[in-house]
Symmetry: D2
Subunit: 373 residues, 4 copies
């Protein structure tokens, strides 16, 4: 239903005289570290698909993994593939049967292309579709001048959302999905890990009604950003004990919920320890390797609920983002620390590596940054 | 387990030399309209109970019903009874076996005295206890210098809550219970009816994460208060059509939830019409009489969920209030429009009748208003 | 996405030499009472659609409404239209892009053709799609030799389900959806109204873990069927008081849930009265006209949850039916009281009118009844 | 509120002339392996308590741990203490203020004595009370002729429940709590571990509406019992691969839920692997030590929900047991493989050690087995 074009095919017919035959793109060209900027064909647009002119794109930790060619990437990536799974674009062509969006619409994109046929897809849980393919990972993505996506993945976010924010609704949706997986309103919530999704989660938890939002990390740069997002308390767990401090901050009651964004085993254990009995922990951060828990003390005796979280609920999470952002309740701009030309992709990767960046947004060739955010 | 003393008994032994034998109280003395200020015995304090010096008390629409001696009151009230079911007091004596609170604690009070034995009580749903007795309705209440309550009903709210706010946590809890009965975070919510509980609900829905909060009423005084509470839109349904305006405000999508605070049949019907399919309406407002619905069009075809709401979840709602108020996220002070001596109870009733009041808070004899709120 | 063919078009090309150009069908031919058996074109099969040879079809109360041409039908039905929204068929042709089913599959059909674009559809709630069209009501249905349906509506039920049962999964799904809308396991449940869906609900509630299942009606024929389905108690509410009897049967505790299948105002009121505080009532039966409730006494003071139920969750309900029927836990065969040729449609309508039928299943021309059920 | 008497005090006044001053009891008398049968004082009955004549008592794996004096026991048990936390008794004396039960009532007992004051207790989650004391572990239990329990812990189960079944409602409640922690009706459920609670869970899952119930273990004796409880499939995981077999049994779809009763790390991992995406696992079995998981593959990417389960919901689980057992839907008698005199406690412990027992029920001195079950 949502077939994607092969990595590089000739375009049979241009939608207008202005559409070029080739474009610039950030391509994982070969098995091994790095990525290169290449001239590749502008993708075609099949039935049920839309062709977008990319306006902005966000860089994700996953892009860094692919760039450095870690074990996960070696298993998953089949070069050549255009990278980029966070982006916003303008619809410039619609494939056969597309009615969801119009040419000219500005659309953010869900990166999971799902099968629509498996049990998960047919019961409102497309985010755990068994046959998921991911834009910029399994099929060509948005670090390019143009990209083709299934029309159902194209989301017309409210026009009053700044374009840099529209570019990163995909990772923002991870934060919203995690936060909304359990009670928030009137709750004491901690976010463990202040990478971009953790930082988003601080803002989301506040906007969505958590009464107190605590955030922890070890990196001063990230802790500073957490403060700028108005976390009620920011815990530097290289210097202070997470559990002690949380108990102090909650009058000994503990947390109602933990949004785990770090994948760090100690953060999971500390989060569990700091939960009140009956609390919940929602796990989005991916641990580097298996780790152990004292199940009895941390989970069973406490009556804890743990959720594994992946992707975004399709499309409940997007409606929630629409409301949060469109109403002005949620402001995530402080997380976006850098906006730079897509041409400087290597530099963006360097920033991520340095740890001195929140979310980095790229401006494709021909687009101009500034003003709109 | 929580036996209340009869309406007026002699006090067997005073807890200290300072406790007088009699006190001033607002008493429903006889079957018929009105209430009178009387000298009555200071209540005693049995096992499991605490004696409070009343610091502040809120006046409720129910007090007006009892004052005017409507049909409901005629069925329910057995004079003589001291009125007042919203109040905050200082613990000055503890009965046998009380460990929950200390002498000197400032406590707000849950007004429902529940049996602890019925199915509802034993499954975490004491708010629908089959044997509920209500302070100030079935047993002597808080419009007095002193009042005795079961220790489990005495709630030590955070000290940073203003005393007038602590006085009205009971009706605030109605608003919190109604709001928290369904999804709030990231939702479009309307509150129909801007009496004090409706006004509280505006503030609660905002603090608890609703993305857009709309409020409707017909009285200009109340609509003004709704604006002061920062409702995203305030609908004067004497002049504009609720459903049309809501659809306009929500881009045609409709509401995710309605908090019905008016008991007005048209408000219920309009609320149902304006809900998106699959939405929820939580009904707290008490209709004056039975009324009809077009069930097919308004409920069944739309897949609506309706909740009947009464009281406060015991004590989930109180913990939620603790977090909302204690964190500073929730500010309900604009709802409290009048603070006056309890001696002027008749005047307070007059204010409620006039419709030119939000919540009226009374200051008992010997207490001094001002400063603390 | 799922366009249905117009009422009668010429078939451009037959899938095989054996497919005839015309077929027999039960057609609502004109505005007014009745229906007629006509020779009409065999429908074509567009992209995303499948053409089925109809094997069996169930007759529904809605068919009776359309036949008698009641007010609802006058508003909704645009003749000519082939009736029939409950059926099972064999796939004999697949339109372009269809991968869900294979030629030769036996499929039951979801009758709601939904838009896939509205908020409801995109958040797992297609059953309350704002743009629903219904097979046999808005577009040609299954009282015919052949029918075309969207491939996503074709459900491959387990092969071990008898064909007459497979024919009526649509109304069975109404019962499952209603039953599964709230707690069932270990609950005391009453079903008010023992038409076919109410009878299905008795069997479903038992198979799905209700501890006690009570059923009420006034018609002796239906009460007998309820007994055959092993309801724990069957209440003839023309002779006994529903509430008194339920309290007796539940040791005074009342019901945990009511599945309302009658649309009768007194049944709704009795159901609410007999619920324990905090219970739920799920409303599927369509009242003939608006009716009133004592909201305070029956809903608000009791803390009741009411659900409006329509259709089947798409496709959660179908997976649940798969499990219930495929495992052998659920046996609804006693509800199917008549199997007769489709040619005798008028007689089937007469049976429904008489009230002396459970579910009536029709065998299309050329199919042979018997053996398989 | 529910203070228990110290281990052994003189009885101030007997309730009747027939109550002896001393009794036989199975006492953990000293730090170290074993237990001894001793003559101890009959306990007194304080305010809010009831004195029971013990009728039957179940032996639990925890009793075996205490007997063998494992690490957990060394930390927790303070001898001397009378063992036994599963039992049924007859009320022979009520302390001051007790209204819940009458003298002569037959009552099963909740073993968790909870504080009623902590957040968990005050929000309907007493099973995770922070101050839980357990009968037969922290305070004197029911392996004796008499026992005193808080009146709120005494549960009047339906009279039609066999006495041996009434004796083991405490561990049965563990199974019910675990099963009811997530969806059951119409679900495919596996129980990993067929000790007595696992065996109970098989029967519960069936009675509560699971469509298919699979059970796994390695011990032939337990696998035989699982078959006797009509599990739809019994998996000997010493011979067959859990995941492969489950996929085969579910047509490749996987499980909707796992009830983990073994504490075995491989069972947890296999259970997670065999869950469909979005499924749930409820963990009651206590692992002997911390163990690791591949969180990404088994929990996060699959969107799994994990619950830690302890005790019984107080008292929701007991009402559910009432309905399940009282209606006759649930029959757990095949799990009770041995009924023997309490005098033979050492032999009972030997049976548990041998693995050749399901649930062992003890008959106190003076009581006679037989007939009633």
């Amino acid at each position: 239903m949502n077939p994607m074009q092969p990595a590089a095919v000739e375009r049979p017919s241009a939608p207008s005289t202005k559409l070029p035959r080739t474009m610039r793109a950030v391509v994982k060209a070969a098995r091994g570290p790095g990525a290169e900027i290449r001239e590749v064909p502008v993708p075609s647009c099949g039935p049920g698909e839309v062709l977008l002119k990319v306006l902005r794109a966000g860089v994700c930790g996953t892009d860094l993994h692919i760039y450095t060619w870690d074990t996960w990437s070696q298993d998953r990536i089949k070069p050549p593939v255009t990278l980029g799974h966070e982006f916003v674009g303008e619809v410039i062509e619609r494939g056969a049967g597309v009615t969801e969006v119009e040419v000219g619409d500005r659309v953010s994109c869900e990166s999971h292309i799902v099968c629509q046929h498996c049990v998960a897809c047919r019961t409102g849980s497309g985010h755990v579709c068994e046959n998921t393919r991911i834009l910029g990972v399994d099929v060509n993505g948005g670090f390019a001048e143009y990209v083709t996506v299934p029309a159902v993945n194209a989301w017309r976010a409210p026009r009053n959302i700044p374009i840099e924010v529209a570019a990163v609704m995909e990772p923002l949706g991870n934060a919203v999905h995690t936060a909304f997986a359990g009670p928030l309103s009137g709750c004491n919530i901690a976010i463990t890990g202040c990478g971009p999704i953790g930082l988003f989660a601080i803002a989301v938890a506040r906007a969505a009604g958590a009464s107190r939002v605590f955030a922890s990390d070890v990196a001063p740069y990230r802790l500073d950003l957490a403060r700028r997002l108005n976390a009620d308390a920011v815990l530097d767990v290289s210097r202070e004990k997470f559990v002690d401090r949380i108990l102090e901050l909650t009058n000994g009651r503990g947390l109602d919920g933990v949004l785990e964004m770090s994948g760090n085993p100690q953060a999971v254990r500390d989060g569990l320890s700091a939960l009140r009995n009956g609390g919940r922990i929602s796990l989005l951060g991916l641990p580097k390797e298996p780790f152990e828990l004292n199940w009895n003390r941390l989970v069973i005796f406490k009556g804890i609920t743990m959720h594994g979280i992946i992707g975004r609920r399709m499309y409940d999470t997007w409606y929630q983002m629409d409301n949060l952002l469109g109403s002005g309740r949620l402001d995530i701009r402080p997380v976006i620390t850098h906006v730079m030309p897509m041409e400087k992709f290597d530099e963006a990767i360097g920033l991520l590596r340095s740890g001195h960046a929140g979310k980095v947004v790229l401006v494709p060739w021909g687009e101009q940054a500034g003003g709109s955010a």
